[in-house]
Symmetry: C2
Subunit: 364 residues, 2 copies
């Protein structure tokens, strides 16, 4: 049987640095555990624009469609701020999500024990927190038409369209219910059904899917503004949250920050199963390209390493190996090994990006 295939798109800013550590870990799995991946690498975002004049070359898109999983670093940076919308680094990532049809974006907001004091929230509010936000990733206002800047009379008008079909809502709802069954069996769906018709349809369809297919899962609905509040007040009330593309963008970033573990959090974007039974999949850290610290060896590679662990689990059915890697990360944290972003008043052993990668390998 062929080795499972992995496409690495390191991207911009700290992307290449954190990805370098993942490559070391992939090497370790090869050398020590005989687990081999066919790894290819390519460009995305500003890095691709610099070479090809587009943030995602067609040949890269084609490769992404063929591999078993894509691992992405980060995209974007001030250098590209003035570029036309159509070739901004973000468009490369959005094209991958859309054309691979990665409709279900799993964003864990998890508080690592060793870092509970690191949150801006009180320890008791976040310690032990472990929730997942399931964000719809291929539709909504990110992709709806019409869109653009038009002239009307003597002024400009900016337009975007929030648009959800029943089947788009149903499939992401299913993925949230499936996930909840493997966790604490609770889903909270968030929208603004009190002011948006797309939210009314969202609420109705989630409820229908629940009643017909997942009556055993506990389902509740919340307006997204109240959801933002409750995430800040007592996030442990949630297990799985399911929401649309735009609300998911804001809510998952807020939730990630609350845990104090922003540089630690991975994400998985999953699509429909391929011929080999594996879902189309892209894994990436929740954090961005952090241009302010890029190239200084300060970045925390753990989010990217844990994204690889998610790939082991969701794409390659290697749950035991994923556990092994996650345990290694926990041990390193418990030992007080700290990149700059994790350095709190209680101190620790300061390490660079590659020092953190080495520590994880030692713990493996």
């Amino acid at each position: 049987m062929a080795n499972p295939s992995l496409l690495i798109l390191a991207g911009d800013g700290i992307g290449p640095e954190v990805m370098a550590e993942v490559k070391k870990i992939i090497g370790w799995f090869d050398a020590k555990r005989g687990i081999r991946f066919d790894v290819s690498e390519d460009l995305v975002g500003g890095a691709a624009y610099d070479v090809h004049g587009t943030p995602l070359h067609d040949s890269t898109m084609a490769k992404a469609q063929e591999v078993d999983a894509v691992l992405l670093g980060a995209v974007g940076g001030p250098k590209y701020d003035k570029l036309d919308f159509s070739v901004k680094p973000e468009r490369g990532l959005l094209r991958l999500r859309k054309e691979m049809d990665l409709f279900s974006n799993l964003r864990p907001a998890q508080c690592f024990d060793a870092l509970a004091d690191f949150s801006s929230l009180k320890r008791e509010v976040v310690a032990g927190l472990d929730i997942v936000i399931v964000r719809e990733l291929t539709s909504g206002v990110y992709f709806g038409e019409p869109r653009g800047i038009f002239t009307e009379g003597n002024e400009r008008v900016g337009i975007n369209t929030q648009r959800y079909t029943e089947s788009e809502i149903a499939r992401v709802a299913r993925s949230a219910f499936e996930l909840a069954r493997r966790r604490n069996n609770k889903v909270c769906s968030m929208e603004k059904a009190n002011v948006m018709e797309s939210g009314i349809l969202w609420r109705e369809v989630v409820q229908e899917v629940h009643d017909k297919e997942y009556p055993d899962v506990e389902l509740s609905h919340m307006y997204a503004d109240a959801g933002a509040m409750q995430l800040c007040r007592w996030p442990k009330q949630f297990d799985v949250i399911v929401t649309d593309n735009l609300f998911g963008d804001l809510l998952s970033d807020a939730a990630a920050m609350l845990t104090g573990s922003l540089g630690m959090l991975p994400s998985a974007s999953l699509g429909a199963p391929m011929a080999n039974g594996r879902p189309k999949a892209l894994y990436e850290p929740v954090h961005g390209s952090a241009p302010d610290i890029a190239g200084q060896g300060k970045a925390n590679p753990i989010a990217c390493i844990l994204s690889f662990a998610m790939a082991l689990r969701y794409s390659f059915d290697m749950g035991a190996e994923a556990d092994r890697l996650e345990k290694a990360v926990e041990k390193v944290l418990a030992d007080g090994v700290r990149t700059a972003d994790l350095m709190g008043p209680e101190g620790g052993v300061p390490v660079s990006t590659s020092g953190m990668g080495d520590a994880v390998i030692a713990a493996l």
Copy 2:
């Protein structure tokens, strides 16, 4: 000269209870300070629907257009959840905002000293916090057309339209810059210009208004997801935040919750100046109708009382009287007087809704 006129719309849930305390305070200003308002009262939300079959009767709308200021309690409740979208309680409030053209919604997120330990955030993160979110309130996805639930092929599609014209963006930007000049002279504008063209226009217009009319104010731009993060991480970095209707809805609720003072926060929604020079204005608490505690004398009337203080300041040019009322509230809090929502582990003097109103009057 005629007395200034005030229309009171108590609305649903805890609305009437908290408004009763404001009425006592209006009475105090009359009796003790010779400050008289022509007060009229009417129905809004579910309360109006129950009587008129609509959440805002045309005659109420007409009155709101004529008075110097509207004071609103809260709208909505589970009793009305199954109503058709067009007559939901929220539509009454949205109609007021739209037809009075109240484009600038000022939402302070302020942490009261006596309550700094009450936040889910650490004391040092919120103590002394005093920022204002200026939310655009009459446009964007709340009002854009087309909207609705349609059938396409064999499935339903939910559609809403995010739509901003240059002049809509410019006028709310101006109100944010004006406010900043009276505060710490810093504005941060939030959108998703990296994925939405309406966000690109937003960013451009805010920058243009700044460069032409307010070059003395410090302006920065932030993506709304990063903004949600930064609000949770270190909210004191902000002074005035300006953002659109939908982002403003989520961000201001999150910010309000962070302060630990949700039951304490007022808001002002302001429009263009009327013939008498006063802006069209509606004042309301940031909190909602809280149906779970309605009718039990548990609600905290302070947000509604401070909304009246904002009316004194912004509509009636009675800054000194507004200060007097705000100081009275501070004193009551410092004295440990606490409605149920403010009762922390350190205890205090428990009072009912009307007990809190009485305490404020005593402090006046």
